[in-house]
Subunit: 395 residues, 2 copies
Amino acid sequence: MTQVVEIHDAAARSRIAEAVLRDLPDWFGIEASTRRYIEEAAMLPTFAVEPDLGFLCLKQHTPRAAEVYVMGVQREQHRRGIGRALVAEAECWCRARGIRYLQVKTLGPSRPDPGGYDETRAFYGAVGFVPLEELHGLWDEDNPTLILVKDVGPGFAVSPVEGLPELGEGDDLAALIAERTELADGDVVVVAQKAVSKVEGRVVTLANVEPSEQARELAGDAADPRRIQVILDEAVELVRVRPPLLIARTRHGYVCGSAGVDASNAPEPESVVLLPVDPDASAARLREELRERTGADVGVIVTDSFGRPWRAATTDVALGAAGVEVVRDLMGERDPTGYELHATRIAIADEIAGAAQLVFGKLDRVPVAVVRGLDVRGDGRGADIVIPAETDLFR
Amino acid sequence: MTQVVEIHDAAARSRIAEAVLRDLPDWFGIEASTRRYIEEAAMLPTFAVEPDLGFLCLKQHTPRAAEVYVMGVQREQHRRGIGRALVAEAECWCRARGIRYLQVKTLGPSRPDPGGYDETRAFYGAVGFVPLEELHGLWDEDNPTLILVKDVGPGFAVSPVEGLPELGEGDDLAALIAERTELADGDVVVVAQKAVSKVEGRVVTLANVEPSEQARELAGDAADPRRIQVILDEAVELVRVRPPLLIARTRHGYVCGSAGVDASNAPEPESVVLLPVDPDASAARLREELRERTGADVGVIVTDSFGRPWRAATTDVALGAAGVEVVRDLMGERDPTGYELHATRIAIADEIAGAAQLVFGKLDRVPVAVVRGLDVRGDGRGADIVIPAETDLFR
């Protein structure tokens, strides 16, 4: 990992600024302006990667906004994550001070500059800055100013991925997602089970199902015995039966209504959708495919809506996961009074699943959301949330 | 509700712009510049409140950024929510087109203008714009330009409220929250139960507890019998007992570990914190106090971390609620294939609680979060999520 340090000494700030900027004549070729940056750096919050590999100075303009006033990385050190690390550190500094927006100004695209500022703009785009406007009049007439901005507020954001088509077996879900959203390292892509099941072909046409005697009995007059048969095929145990409602344990160990078999949002009226065979494998596959298509190292969670004993209505929970923390274990850590939190384990992935559900459209088909700003990289699996039989108080 | 319409006809756009701007000589007193706005309005996406009460024109500068290029509300109609409604509609328009940031330029604060642009800046602040920088050189030398920006991306954001002190009985929680965050209408303030219980004095000092025989038996050697006694006092029914672990139904109807009695993060080592007596009332009270202090009409959810049968670890759920949708009922609505979603009820408030937990610090005391961007106003109560005994399959 690239180590970024904050430089507090004024002379050291100017020195490192000079060392780096002198190495970048294609960007900093006007002596007077370079001199000014070097002098101003002395008074500005400054971050650096030593020894003199790169630096970044911030200028705070208003209580809730700051600017990446000048930054540079030695020519030979480009494309090694130094700039990215400097910006990340600057964002932390801002967040800790209640700063919500970070801006940066650079040469506008109306004056193309291949290999120079064109690259600079691409860099800021890659770290999440969005071009706001090209302004004229701030700098001299040959140099239009592009102002870019990034929301660096604390906490996290959940956004729907909109415009996905109706999905079918064999569809390239990763490509469809990648086309509709810009993913960044550390994002978590949350996908409703049904989208995964459909592309994996986990759909059963009821016309092909022959219901057993048990299915016919359970169905009574209230349900389609063929649908009950599919549920029985998916279940390893019926946990509660109040026909036509069946709560079952699935092969994966999940306890849920209808063993996860669902007719709503099925591709056609006379079919039902099953849970994926292995939701963790589905998540891992999608993660790998997203990485191939976007270059971004994201986490993936595959979710479904489950009911719970004693509480009305459903919440979305994690069935499968890849690249994310699933259970956060605070066991043994101590709170500020010294009390040992001996049983605090948090089902992070279930909470992320629920958050994503809030932007899913049950009726208008938004089965994918992106969660950004949570530090939850890890290697948990959905299976980690299933309580083993021997410690299960409710078996 | 103020009705905002989009104006598609070029002549109508200019006409309404002229009607409103001519009524605002304090803001639009330079004829050439006013004329230009009126002409340009013809070509810009324009929203209006009729008859000629107010209008707003957008200009899109980049694929993901637009500007409130000009807006006005008739002098006599100020402070009636017209400007707010126009901005909200403009944000919807942006979101539907993938626009992430909305900016606005106005006169900078270095040229004070009481009753004129000072008011304008306050308005933009109240609708969520943040001052980015005062720029010089864009307009003439007498008129510095303040550029303000707002993230109008889709989905929602969850932010911790940081820096709260250790809480005690009688503390003014609403004031403490209001001092540390800027609330806006429609925000949901999520508060961990323990913060509410502490200010409500729901703390028991164990030295004052005399354990019963039953408490001593349940405690065995593994637990403090005084703590078990407090749990028994809070419980109406023990649902599962594996000493020293007790899962109990509380007076409110919640089923949870230790009847919600918790020693972690208690104010002092030899004390425990109980659930609020009436979490819905606590939420309603806090909501009212936040409205008094900030003017913002927010929702409030009071949460706690609950375990669930069959699933490892805890998720935060809603105990009490005010001003928010708690259960979203899709019963009877139809999905796109015509399948009736006959049993889809979503525990929105539990999902919001879980999302907030992701920014709560179990160890570093962040018991409050603000959720912004969810359209969940309503009048649900935490009690709505408790399943009535007669329909409970797990009783």
